[in-house]
């Protein structure tokens, strides 16, 4: 199987991220948002997607925590910050900074 290049992964990620944002924009269901097919395909891109997701988070908060936890096996978010997308964003960007990914 031909391995995707970083540029190819970034292009696929961009397309999937746009599709995900568009098709889940009206939903309040976190379940629906993170189980959307495009979101799942982003997780399927594997670890190369992590810096791409962090770059998205650096622009604005969004529901990327589920994907990041699935991809990294880590969760830097405090339980007391449940539902606080701004704090979830900050926690993951701090995590990414310590890993040299941001």
């Amino acid at each position: 199987m031909k391995k995707k290049t970083g540029a190819a992964i970034a292009k696929i990620f961009g397309m999937l991220a746009n599709q995900w944002r568009t098709e889940t924009a009206l939903s309040s269901s976190l379940t629906d948002v993170v189980t959307h097919a495009a979101y799942q395909r982003i997780i399927g891109l594997g670890r190369p997607a992590v810096p791409l997701i962090l770059a998205e988070l650096a622009v604005q908060p969004d529901h990327w925590g589920w994907a990041l936890e699935a991809l990294t096996g880590e969760n830097p978010v405090d339980d007391e910050d449940a539902g606080r997308l701004d704090r979830i964003q900050a926690a993951w960007l701090e995590w990414g900074h310590t890993k040299g990914l941001v």
Partner: protein
């Protein structure tokens, strides 16, 4: 785009009343919380009131709003003096999808997912996206806070 997703908005009065933001969803907005995403999942990615069943059912959503003093209303969405109302929407399977809050004018306000807040008529959001109003909740309007 909104009128394409919600045909009822095309014929009723509606207005966009905020910028787009993913910070809070419709449940949070109806609950008066602009800081969190409310949804019944066992995850720090969403908020759900402590002690309320973590399930996507009308009963659980009614219980969630009960923590704020709301209870099922017998007179529907009619405007009542001194009363705040929240409408819970559900799809054809009865699964909760959306919540709207009544304004003092009698119009309703909703946060549309990760998009804007809008002011709309009660029937404006009926349709395939959110279903229809399944339950209306009420509480006495809280007394205004004492100015410092």
């Amino acid at each position: 785009m909104l009128e394409a997703m919600f045909p009822g908005l095309a014929v009723g009065n509606y207005a966009i009343t905020s910028a787009k933001t993913p910070t809070y969803n419709c449940i949070a907005w109806a609950a008066g919380d602009l800081t969190r995403w409310w949804w019944p999942v066992r995850s720090p990615l969403a908020y759900w009131p402590a002690g309320v069943p973590c399930e996507v059912t009308l009963d659980a959503f009614i219980a969630a709003f009960a923590t704020l003093g709301y209870a099922p209303c017998n007179v529907g969405g009619a405007l009542e003096s001194g009363v705040e109302k929240v409408a819970l929407y559900a799809d054809r399977l009865g699964t909760p999808t959306h919540a709207a809050r009544q304004l003092p004018t009698g119009a309703w306000t909703s946060k549309l997912g990760r998009l804007e807040d809008i002011r709309h008529t009660p029937e404006g959001l009926d349709g395939d996206q959110y279903g229809v109003v399944a339950c209306v909740l009420r509480r006495d309007r809280p007394a205004a806070p004492i100015a410092p």
